[in-house]
C-alpha cells in the first residue's frame, strides 16, 4: 500500500475519532478517489456518511462488506446505515449476517431484535433481546425494550418479568421502576405496584415529580378501593399542590369514605382517566431523558 493512502486513512480516522465527521468524510472520499476498494477508507467514508445522515453511507458500507464479507462490524454498520435510510428489510438482513459472524456481540442482537420487531417479527425480537440480556448482564437496554415490546403485545406478565430483572440489575433506574409499577398496576398486583412507587419517591427527586408519584399511589389505592389509605395519600398530595386534580381526588376519596359532601367530585371514570393521563405525562418526562441519553 502506498504511503499517501495510509496517510489519508490515518487522517480520516483521526478526524472521525475527534467527531469531525465532515472532514473525516471528505478525506476518506478523497482517498477513495485514489483507491476505490480500500477497506479502511470505505469503512470511514461509510461511518462518517452515516453520522452526517448521508444516503451514501449504504453505498460505501455495501462496498465494504463486498471487500470484507467476514467482518461482522462492517455488516452491523451497513445494517444501521440501511435502517437510517428506512430500508428495514436490508437492515435486518445485514444485522442477521453480523450476528451470525459474531454471535457473542450483544449490541448487534439488540439492534437485530429491534429491527425484527419493527418488521413485525415479535417472537424473533423477543428471542434476540432475551439472548442479548443474558449475554450482557450490565446492560439494561435489551431488558427495557423487551419489557416494552411485551407490554405492547399484551403479554403483561412477561413484561413484568423483564422489568423486574431490569430493576434487579439497575435498582436506581427510574424509568424501569416506573414501568414495573405501571405493569403491576395493570395486572392488579397492587402491593407490588405501590412498592415500586414508594421506591420512586426516593429515586425520582426532580422538581415537581413528587406530585406525579403521589397521584399514582392514590390511583393504586382507588383501584383496590382502600379508601382510608387513598385519603391519607390525597392529604399528602395537598401538601404538594392544590391543583384541580389533587383537590378533585381529595373530594372523590372523601366522598367514598364519608358519603357525598358539599364539594362535588367528578365520577370515578373521569378520575381514572385523568390519573392515567397524569401517569402518561410522568412517563413522557422520563422518556425524554432516555431519548437524550439513549436507552
Amino acid at each position: 500500500m502506498d504511503v499517501s493512502m495510509l496517510e489519508f486513512a490515518g487522517r480520516a480516522q483521526d478526524a472521525f475519532d475527534a467527531a469531525h465527521f465532515k472532514d473525516s468524510y471528505r478525506l476518506a472520499v478523497e482517498g477513495l478517489n485514489g483507491r476505490a476498494d480500500h477497506p479502511g477508507l470505505l469503512a470511514i467514508a461509510g461511518r462518517a456518511a452515516m453520522e452526517l445522515g448521508l444516503d451514501e453511507a449504504t453505498t460505501y458500507l455495501g462496498r465494504l462488506v463486498e471487500q470484507t464479507p467476514a467482518d461482522a462490524t462492517a455488516w452491523r454498520d451497513l445494517g444501521m446505515a440501511r435502517l437510517n435510510s428506512a430500508d428495514l428489510g436490508g437492515a435486518e438482513q445485514a444485522l442477521r449476517t453480523a450476528v451470525q459472524l459474531d454471535p457473542g456481540d450483544s449490541a448487534m442482537r439488540v439492534s437485530l431484535g429491534h429491527v425484527a420487531y419493527l418488521g413485525g417479527a415479535a417472537d424473533e425480537a423477543d428471542r434476540q433481546l432475551s439472548e442479548a440480556a443474558r449475554m450482557a448482564p450490565a446492560d439494561v437496554t435489551a431488558l427495557r425494550s423487551l419489557s416494552e415490546m411485551r407490554r405492547l403485545k399484551g403479554r403483561v406478565q412477561a413484561a413484568i418479568d423483564a422489568a423486574d430483572e431490569l430493576v434487579r440489575r439497575a435498582p436506581e433506574d427510574i424509568a424501569g421502576t416506573m414501568s414495573l409499577a405501571e405493569l403491576n398496576l395493570t395486572l392488579g398486583n397492587y402491593a407490588e405496584s405501590l412498592a415500586c412507587y414508594r421506591r420512586l419517591t426516593e429515586l425520582d427527586t426532580d422538581q415537581g415529580h413528587a406530585g406525579h408519584i403521589i397521584h399514582a399511589m392514590i390511583e393504586v389505592e382507588i383501584c383496590r378501593e382502600r379508601w382510608r389509605r387513598a385519603l391519607d395519600y390525597a392529604i399528602i398530595a395537598t401538601t404538594l399542590d392544590r391543583h384541580r386534580l389533587t383537590t378533585d381526588l381529595l373530594a372523590f376519596v372523601s366522598n367514598q369514605l364519608f358519603g357525598t359532601g358539599e364539594r362535588p367530585a367528578p365520577p370515578r371514570q373521569e378520575i381514572e382517566s385523568r390519573l392515567r393521563a397524569r401517569r402518561s405525562e410522568h412517563r413522557r418526562l422520563h422518556a425524554e431523558v432516555l431519548a437524550g441519553l439513549g436507552t
Partner: protein
C-alpha cells in the same frame, strides 16, 4: 466550571447502538435516525424536547457557538432549604446536565449572518430562571446592543426559580429592561418559544422580542393549565396554550416546524439586515402617472365595480409577484389574529421593507375567511405593531389598501374599533421611516385611511377611495340604494379625480381591461411605482420626512392651502 455545549456527537453511533421509544406513539426509534430527524419522531412527528447543545447544533452554522459569560454561576442568596438544600439541588442538576445553569449565550452565525444567541435548557431544574439565567439573558441583550447584532433567544422554562425568592422575581425586570434598550436602539430581537415556556419567562423577555416564533406544538403560557383549571374550576379546551392556540389568539408571529426553524430564522435575519445604500433598481414597466389628463376616465360606477372584481390582485398576490421572501407576521399581541390585514417584512428589489395590506380573496370561502377584507380592531393593532417594528428597525413601510371599510360589528365596537383606527392614523403620521401607500382596490373610508397616512399616496388606475361607500351615500342622501352610481360620480372617488384633489400623488396604470385581466403586468407597474417613490423618499432625513407628511395632510380643507382642482365638475357633467 466548563459546560456541556458539545455540539457534535461525542460517541459515533456505530460505536454504541442506541434505541429509544417515542413517548407519544410508542414507536421504537433508532436514536441516530431520530437525531437526523432533529429529534422529531418520524412516525408521529412528536417533537422531543431539546437540550441547549442540540438546539445550537441545529440552528447555528456548523453548530459553532463562541460561548460568552462563562463566569456566570448560580448562587444560593437565600440559603434556601426545602426537603433538600438549594445548594444540593444545584449541584445535582449540574452533575446531571453537565451545565452551570439553565441558560448559555454566545456569538455565532445563522445562514452566514451574525447573531448573539441565548439558549435555555429545560433539563436544568425545569429551565427555571434565577439570577444566573437572568444574568445570561441580560448580558446577551447587552452584547447585542453593544455590537448592534441581532439577538436570538431560545426559551424553555417553567418560570421563575422559587429557591431564589424575590431575587428570581427581579430577573423579570432586569431582563425586560435590557430587551427594552435593545428595542429603543433598533436592534432586532427574535424569541423562539419552545416547549415548555411558562411563568416569569413568558412574562418577561420571552414575549418581548420584535419577532416571536413558537415551535410547533410547544406549550406556552403564563399560568400553568393545572393552576388555571383549579382557579376557574372549568376544563380547558383542547389545544389550550399550544403554539397554534397562541397564534390564533394573536400572541405570536408565527409557528415553525423544527425542520424549518433555521430557515425561518435565516430569512428573518436577512430581511432585517441593512439594505444596500444604492438606489433601488428600476424596471421597464409603465411609469407612474401624475397628470390627471393622461388617465382615460371611465364612469365612476364602472371603476367601483372593477375595484371590487373578485379576480383583482390581493396583497398576498402582490407579495408574491413584487417582493422576495415575504414572511407573514401575525397577531396584535393583545387579543387575536385578524386575517383581513396581512403584513410582514419582505425584500423589494433587494431592500428590506415592511409590507402591510388589507387582504380579500378570490373565492367565497377565501372572502369569508378574510372577512371580506373588513378588519376588526385586531387587524389595525397588528398593522400598527408592524409599523412600529418597521420604524424601530428603519424599514420603509408599504401599505396596500383594499377594503370596503372597517368591520361594523358588535365585537369590533366592544374592542375599540374607532380607537384602533385613530391610533393607527396618528402613529402613521409620526413614524420616522418612509411610508408609501397604494390604494389597490377599494379605499373604504376610515378603514382604509388607517393604513393610508403615507408620505406618498398612490392609487391604481381603477381603484376608488371614498369617505363612504357609494351605496351608503345613496341610501342616506338619495333615500335609496339604486342611486349608487350617481353617488359614486358625486363623491369623485376615481383616481384622476383624487389626483386633481391631491388626495393621491400618483396613479399606477392598469392593463386595459383592469388589474384582474393581467396580474403580472399590474404587479410590474406597481413595483415600478414603489421603486420610483421609495428612491425619492429614502434619502430624506426623518425630521424632514415627518414635517412634509404633516403638511401633506395638514393642508386638506384649509382655504388657500388646498388648491381647487382644475377639472372640478367636468367629470360629473360628462356622466350625467
Amino acid at each position: 466550571m466548563s459546560q456541556n455545549l458539545t455540539i457534535t456527537p461525542a460517541r459515533p453511533a456505530t460505536e454504541t447502538v442506541q434505541w429509544t421509544k417515542c413517548p407519544s406513539c410508542d414507536a421504537f426509534l433508532y436514536l441516530k435516525r431520530l437525531e437526523h430527524n432533529l429529534k422529531v419522531c418520524p412516525e408521529c412527528r412528536y417533537h422531543f424536547r431539546l437540550p441547549a447543545a442540540d438546539r445550537l447544533a441545529q440552528l447555528l452554522d456548523d453548530g459553532v457557538l463562541h460561548e460568552l459569560g462563562q463566569d456566570v454561576m448560580p448562587f444560593d442568596a437565600l440559603s434556601f432549604v426545602d426537603s433538600r438544600s438549594y445548594a444540593d439541588r444545584l449541584e445535582q442538576a449540574q452533575r446531571k446536565t453537565g451545565r452551570r445553569d439553565a441558560a448559555s449565550y454566545g456569538r455565532g452565525t445563522i445562514g452566514g449572518l451574525p447573531v448573539v444567541i441565548a439558549v435555555m435548557d429545560f433539563a436544568f431544574m425545569g429551565g427555571s430562571m434565577g439570577g444566573a439565567v437572568g444574568e445570561i439573558i441580560t448580558r446577551s441583550a447587552e452584547e447585542a446592543l453593544q455590537t448592534r447584532t441581532p439577538l436570538v433567544i431560545i426559551t424553555a422554562s417553567g418560570g421563575a426559580r422559587m429557591q431564589e425568592g424575590c431575587v428570581s422575581l427581579m430577573q423579570l425586570a432586569k431582563t425586560s429592561q435590557a430587551l427594552g434598550r435593545l428595542k429603543e436602539a433598533g436592534v432586532l430581537s427574535i424569541c423562539v418559544l419552545t416547549d415548555p415556556t411558562f411563568g416569569g419567562v413568558t412574562a418577561s423577555y420571552a414575549t418581548l422580542g420584535d419577532v416571536l416564533i413558537a415551535e410547533a406544538g410547544a406549550l406556552v403560557g403564563f399560568a400553568g393549565p393545572q393552576i388555571i383549571e383549579q382557579t376557574i374550576r372549568q376544563r380547558l379546551p383542547k389545544g389550550f396554550q399550544t403554539a397554534e392556540f397562541l397564534l390564533g389568539h394573536g400572541m405570536i408571529d408565527l409557528v415553525a416546524q423544527r425542520e424549518n426553524l433555521r430557515q425561518t430564522l435565516t430569512k428573518m435575519l436577512r430581511l432585517h439586515a441593512e439594505g444596500p445604500a444604492a438606489p433601488l433598481p428600476a424596471g421597464r414597466a409603465a411609469a407612474l402617472i401624475t397628470d390627471p389628463g393622461q388617465i382615460a376616465r371611465r364612469p365612476a360606477w364602472e371603476v367601483v365595480k372593477l375595484a371590487r372584481n373578485i379576480g383583482r390582485p390581493t396583497t398576498l398576490d402582490y407579495a408574491g409577484l413584487i417582493f422576495d421572501d415575504f414572511v407573514e407576521l401575525q397577531g396584535d399581541r393583545l387579543y387575536a389574529e385578524s386575517s383581513s390585514i396581512v403584513g410582514g417584512p419582505a425584500s423589494l428589489a433587494g431592500h428590506p421593507v415592511m409590507l402591510i395590506g388589507h387582504q380579500k380573496g378570490h373565492s367565497t370561502s377565501e372572502l369569508v375567511a378574510r372577512n371580506f377584507g373588513m378588519p376588526e380592531p385586531e387587524g389595525y393593532r397588528k398593522a400598527l405593531r408592524l409599523m412600529r417594528h418597521a420604524g424601530r428597525l428603519g424599514m420603509p413601510v408599504i401599505t396596500l389598501v383594499d377594503t370596503p371599510g372597517a368591520f361594523p360589528g358588535l365585537g369590533a365596537e366592544e374592542r375599540g374599533q374607532a380607537v384602533a383606527i385613530a391610533e393607527s392614523i396618528m402613529e402613521m403620521a409620526r413614524l420616522t421611516v418612509p411610508i408609501v401607500t397604494v390604494v389597490t382596490g377599494e379605499g373604504g373610508s376610515g378603514g382604509a385611511l388607517a393604513l393610508a397616512v403615507g408620505d406618498r399616496v398612490l392609487m391604481l388606475q381603477n381603484a376608488y377611495y371614498s369617505v363612504i361607500s357609494p351605496e351608503g351615500c345613496s341610501v342616506i342622501l338619495w333615500s335609496n340604494a339604486a342611486s349608487a352610481p350617481r353617488a359614486a360620480e358625486a363623491l369623485r372617488v376615481r383616481a384622476p379625480d383624487l389626483l386633481e384633489l391631491r388626495i393621491v400623488d400618483g396613479v399606477v396604470p392598469e392593463p386595459e381591461g383592469g388589474a384582474h385581466t393581467d396580474q403580472v403586468t399590474t404587479a410590474a407597474n406597481l413595483k415600478e411605482a414603489l421603486v420610483t417613490t421609495l428612491n425619492e423618499l429614502m434619502p430624506i432625513d426623518p425630521q424632514t420626512l415627518l414635517a412634509a407628511r404633516y403638511q401633506r395632510f395638514r393642508c386638506f380643507g384649509t382655504p388657500a392651502a388646498h388648491p381647487a382642482p382644475a377639472m372640478a365638475g367636468a367629470s360629473a357633467k360628462e356622466d350625467d
